[in-house]
Symmetry: D2
Subunit: 293 residues, 4 copies
């Protein structure tokens, strides 16, 4: 199972009382299904996973699987701080129909989360998970950067099939590609550097940007893979402002605001996450307008 | 309810199968109760709170309350990433007999956790919590530093009674003391700077060090409060090596190893936290030996 | 030669054409001499040393020495990036009458400036310098923190008499005091934590704040040394706003603006250092006004 | 004057007494001249510029110019902390025959070196310099990152012709290319990401790696410019280990050790820079050996 292409890490809708709203989740998914996206991630960072209880998480995965046809891969975010909870979450997601699980590095006890501890963690999770495991590295949020050498060791595990790297460091993407075996999937988590990552050998991306502009992201991927570097570079440059705004700049609130502007009904972030500030909405409106024109 | 004195943030024992072990928790607590500690914190950072499920957390609070007599304050750590979960956890802890709750800043979505967002979060939790709330600021682990100005605003809430500040920044302790009303409790979370914090006006401490050396910590507090600065400074200097080893240096694994050396039966950290490395145990043995001699 | 007390690290005046203005330097010094300051530092960080050529530096040291009577210690900042230049600068300053030299850690090649490299550097400078050497550690500006263990080794050199530590980390001050021999001078470079540093055993301070409020700083030092902790703490608290504004907050531009408000004629910072922004001047005016009232 | 191609930032030899050794500088340059490098930078970071006095700097520029024929561009590093010294250094370098000057951001007073202050600095230097100015941004060493928006403003100055960006951040390279006018030169300072930088539109590089492996760097540039991405990527991957070792990993000591292994006689770094540790030499020997085989 090699993951190639563009995956949308879909946001999680909440209702006005801040409760999980699976009805709107299904509706939004139906709309994304009409686009040529390869597959979907539920409960990634943009899915506000750390703000959901286990029970809510299960309902979100279940609703997603019921909506997404079997031939479109569904990946569920199941990272937890303890090995024990991560194993359980992976098992539950598999039972609910996820094709693979995306497991973020535990990070609360930063100093103790050495590469060795993380290799132990992922090995335990992969040993126990009924479905393949994707490692998930996001240094800006976790304060931890899993080194390519550790990933290379993990890549030998038969149930660890790839990594989503959101470091935005294309040199690291290049290292990951060089040091992992051929069938290992290296997915970029950064829309701002997606063209470069693919031209460095990344096999695809899990991009917040792909929720907002799915067709453009797929086209960017195809151009880069086909070696049409000039067109790819030009398209990447056009997408850059939106990529930044829904990425590091305004995060989940920015993404939900952008989706609202694009006609998706995904509501506001869960508290204590604030809604996007007005200035962000104005910037997003302008950046999207330029692309639409 | 003003919190004055030395509180021990007790670790959480797990059995060999990595399950919560409330029996050993009770036994260890019984031993600590024999020391002149003011009170106890369960499920703080040293209690490995982020590694426990809600159900386990409730059992730990319940077991602690049943062991600790009503005249010794029990504070339960109930911080969660979402406002909703934090409110629920506070309610459950209150029902289980906690006298107050200690609520760590949510921190996963760092950039969005502005002072304004955090003021909103704590206000919601304090509005709903049946017992008083202590703010908990630990920048080294969360990547977020709640500013004294924001704390000063929160201090006006009738149900927010104090802060545990683990920044180790005594200037910040001084700012907190100066800007908060007189009845607000400012507790230091750093054993290495405890004397300084108290001489700056901190009303007490929640110190990992106090699990290992409860009598010495209480004496240090009393000396500092009594204005016996020379003796206090000398004692602080003696305690410094152990304070560092069970604090920033080796964290929870260091604390559990130190307690093992001191005859407490609290087991190993929960995975993926590794046990303390051998070098740490050797350093701890020597540092404790010097104090005992 | 033990350095005890409060030293003023005086700023360097420039004329409208951005040339060194020794005339105004002498005039300002004359005014500071009327205050009970222990001694003076020329060409420290607040003296904009990195913005002066060697020739200008020599003229500034010469002018200061001619103005300051022999019974008031004059310390000259002579740190340079290369060992060779630092040796030469120390020799020239000694010839011009400096009683000691203050040598900042070289820091451009950060990763190579290990404690071992820095011990070599200071040893070479101290071997060659005709006058005693003070180590100068300022992590916020250099990106390097010389560890107490390395300072402890340097303290054994007969020509290295002390350290100015501007880390603002009072735990580090405490470590320096504990690990250095009794005759070694530990001077704090942080006005915001001066009381704490002295109560931790620092022998004095080199404080930008002492240029603006010399009498108050001397009084704070005396209170802290005499064990009058309550008064000392209250005074430190009063001085805190100005200390921050002329310290980390607005740096040299802030200090020169504060001195202008206090009636000193020290001009503007040398370019590319900008003058203090208007908001800074307003904050300073208010903070000074509160103290004066 | 558009700078396109590969420039070697040559190291500065010192003799055993740590004095500038222009004789060996000339000899080494003669050897580099036999390679198809576009041009040379003297007194860049790898030239240990911050460790030289003005007089030595002038002698190094003079010796380089006398050795390098007029049709090969010579760029002199002339950044200084003060605007005044930077203007003077640029004038002297121009008089000694430099074709352009490379001016590093001043950085000692980090907090005050805002984009606005830096725009003022560069404007003053460019107004006064008889030869064109290249901006030089090196965040890892200076602690300052000049923003693309500020560079875009500077690019309008008729005497500012380009930038050397050593951030290693290819997204920033992409921003610089997009926001600057077409004739502005964007040179990468990072050998590890050179292919990517060129494929992002960089017009060339100033690479420590090009001192050690000039032919390979020139070939990498040509492949990338010709759109032969697969070959370019493979070559970049091969060069990566050496690029890292002489770049961020071991800096100037690493570069001088690598050159020694490659038969260049450039001596040791100037003190306090230490020679490369033995482990570094072993790693370099192996990495170079692999390439040579």
């Amino acid at each position: 199972m090699k993951l190639t292409g563009v995956f949308a890490p879909i946001p999680t809708p909440f209702d006005r009382a801040d409760r999980l709203d699976t009805k709107r989740l299904r509706r939004a998914l139906t709309r994304w299904l009409a686009h040529p996206l390869t597959g979907f991630v539920v409960l990634g960072t943009t899915g506000e996973a750390p703000l959901l209880d286990d029970d809510e998480a299960d309902r979100a995965v279940g609703a997603a699987r019921e909506t997404i046809p079997a031939d479109r891969p569904l990946i569920a975010g199941t990272g937890r701080e303890s090995t024990r909870s991560a194993v359980r979450a992976a098992k539950r997601a598999a039972r609910l129909g996820a094709d693979a699980v995306l497991v973020r590095t535990p990070s609360f006890f930063k100093r103790q989360m050495t590469d060795q501890a993380l290799v132990g963690y992922y090995t335990s999770v992969a040993d126990a998970s009924p479905v393949p495991v994707l490692v998930y590295n996001f240094p800006a949020l976790t304060g931890i950067n899993l080194q390519p050498a550790a990933v290379s060791r993990l890549a030998r595990h038969p149930n660890i099939i790839g990594i989503k790297d959101s470091s935005g460091d294309v040199l690291q993407i290049s290292d990951l590609v060089a040091s992992a075996p051929g069938e290992f999937s290296v997915l970029s988590g950064s829309g701002s550097t997606f063209y470069t990552a693919v031209s460095m050998g990344a096999t695809g991306g899990v991009l917040a940007l792909a929720c907002v502009l799915p067709d453009a992201c797929v086209r960017l991927f195809e151009l880069a893979r086909a070696g049409q570097h000039q067109e790819a570079r030009a398209l990447q440059q056009q997408l850059l402002p939106v990529a930044k705004l829904v990425g590091s700049e305004y995060g989940v609130p920015g993404l939900k605001a952008a989706l609202h502007l694009a006609g998706y009904d995904v509501g506001l972030p869960r508290r204590p996450l604030p809604p996007a500030p007005e200035a962000a909405v104005a910037e997003l409106r302008e950046a999207l307008c330029v692309l639409g024109g």
